[in-house]
Amino acid sequence: MTAFARIRFAALLLMLFGLATAPVLAQKLGPDGAPNPTASVTNQKTLLEQAPRTQGRIDIPDVKASVLMQPAGRTWDYFHEVLLHWGGAVVIVGMLAVLALAYLIMGRLRIEAGRSGQTIVRFKAFERFAHWLTAVSFVLLGLTGLNITFGKVLLRPLVGPDLFSDISQIAKYVHNFTSFAFVAGLVLITVLFFRDNLFKQVDIDWVKQGGGFIKSKHAPAGRFNLGEKMVYWLSVAAGLLVSASGFVLLFPFYGTNIADMQIAQVAHAVIAILFIALILGHIYIGTLGMEGAFEAMGTGEVDINWAREHHDRWLAEKLEAEGRQASATPAE
């Protein structure tokens, strides 16, 4: 027998086997020759093994009710009550610990040359508006979001079930409606700061010079250094994902099924926790961590000496554009 004939023979055998077994599976006969009702009974365990969500036909217009069973709900419960609680706590408390450690070791990063008394515009009023719109809505969303996950552990024992329910009810609405302001702010930030956050050659030099962490070395940077660019890109990415998953949750079962809703919630929660950790770092360095940093977003003007130490290239371009000379000696 040639190899080809052998393969043909094997295929024929398989086909015959298939033909012989298929009707047996579909219509088993009982010992008395009558069709055995068990044969047409789909055992519920078999059905559940086929799909984690068993779906069928219903007589009511509610499409999501056609899912008879979804044991995956218990898996989602495990994620929400165990993984998210512990993971979220570790990430957020861990970030706070890292920042506290940074403050204890490095302290507040001072303007080394002292203040010059001369200032330069770093962020225009509209840029600051975009930042604070996003920032205020982020804090509101963050606190109300954390309340949904951690409120019952942290806040409920303090204020009691009734007041906690009232707070959570308000928090739910605040969370739902602030989301629109956050998305508006996010879009503005993405557009306004896009060009200055593109990666450039100077970012490599910035890393080589220790990113400003080594006192003896000067890390060169344009309007934004690599650290700020990372915050920008990570925030844009996280903001996009958290908004997308958030809108899926805000419009439940609008073209989604129960599995999609669970995935959206998991994505929303995980990204939000990481986003909060990132922004905690951003808040630290913009306020407590560095002298002269907050006024950039506060009044919009920074001290020339601060700009020289942290954004020398940007300062040079800016001064050149304005046709202005920075005073060589700082004002006493």
């Binding site: 009974v41 007589d59 899912v67 008879l68 979804q70 996950t149 009734d162 609008y254």
Partner: protein, 200 residues
């Protein structure tokens, strides 16, 4: 103490929806809310089975576990009740529920959910209202359980497919049935709901 459960003998269910109607009527369930529904699996194909499903009153109920305001809890009879005064309508219990039981009245535009409503095993509400009071009835529906009666859906089942009562007793009834007629597709959802199954 009894452990109250539901068991739907799918080999008896004829998709008549009497349980759904009985539930809606007994509890004055508002329009758009279905505490109980009948799902037909493999509709029109060999192996078609209809199953009546509502809250199964789970052991370690996942809805109670995920509730951000802890408004869902099991009673000493294993019935899972909730307090509508505390519910914030977040919808998490629906994501966690293996049986799609929680329902929400629409209270605004888009997906805004009102206070959750679900099968109470005809045992009234889990709020501060007095058992059997008019306030309790308006919020949660009937409290037959307080009068020593079983849920209306199971009582009205035309083929006695839907069984309600103490878990051990209804499991025994089902096992005897399976033994006598020689087949059964199993107790739908029991392993997921109660971490245990009927013997046959």
């Amino acid at each position: 103490m009894a452990r109250m459960k539901f068991l739907c003998d799918a080999d008896r269910c004829i998709d008549c929806n009497a349980c759904v109607t009985a539930c809606k009527n007994e509890n004055e369930v508002p329009w758009g809310i279905n505490r109980r529904r009948v799902v037909t699996i493999n509709d029109g194909k060999p192996g078609e089975r209809s199953v009546s499903m509502a809250c199964m009153h789970c052991t370690d109920a996942p809805c109670a576990s995920v509730c951000p305001v802890k408004c869902i809890y099991p009673t000493e009879d294993g019935i899972v009740l909730h307090d509508k005064d505390l519910c914030i309508g977040c919808g998490y219990c629906f994501y966690a529920c293996p049986f799609g039981a929680p329902q929400y009245p629409q209270v605004g535009n888009f997906g805004s959910r009102g206070k959750m409503d679900k099968c109470t095993y005809c045992a009234g509400g889990g709020g501060p209202e007095a058992p059997g009071s008019a306030e309790e009835y308006a919020k949660y529906g009937s409290n037959r359980f307080g009068e020593g009666k079983l849920p209306m859906c199971a009582e009205m089942c035309s083929t006695k497919s839907l069984l309600a009562g103490d878990g051990d007793i209804i499991a025994q009834i089902y096992e005897e049935r399976v033994e006598k007629r020689g087949y059964g597709s199993g107790a739908w959802g029991w392993t997921t709901a109660y971490h245990e199954d009927v013997k046959s």
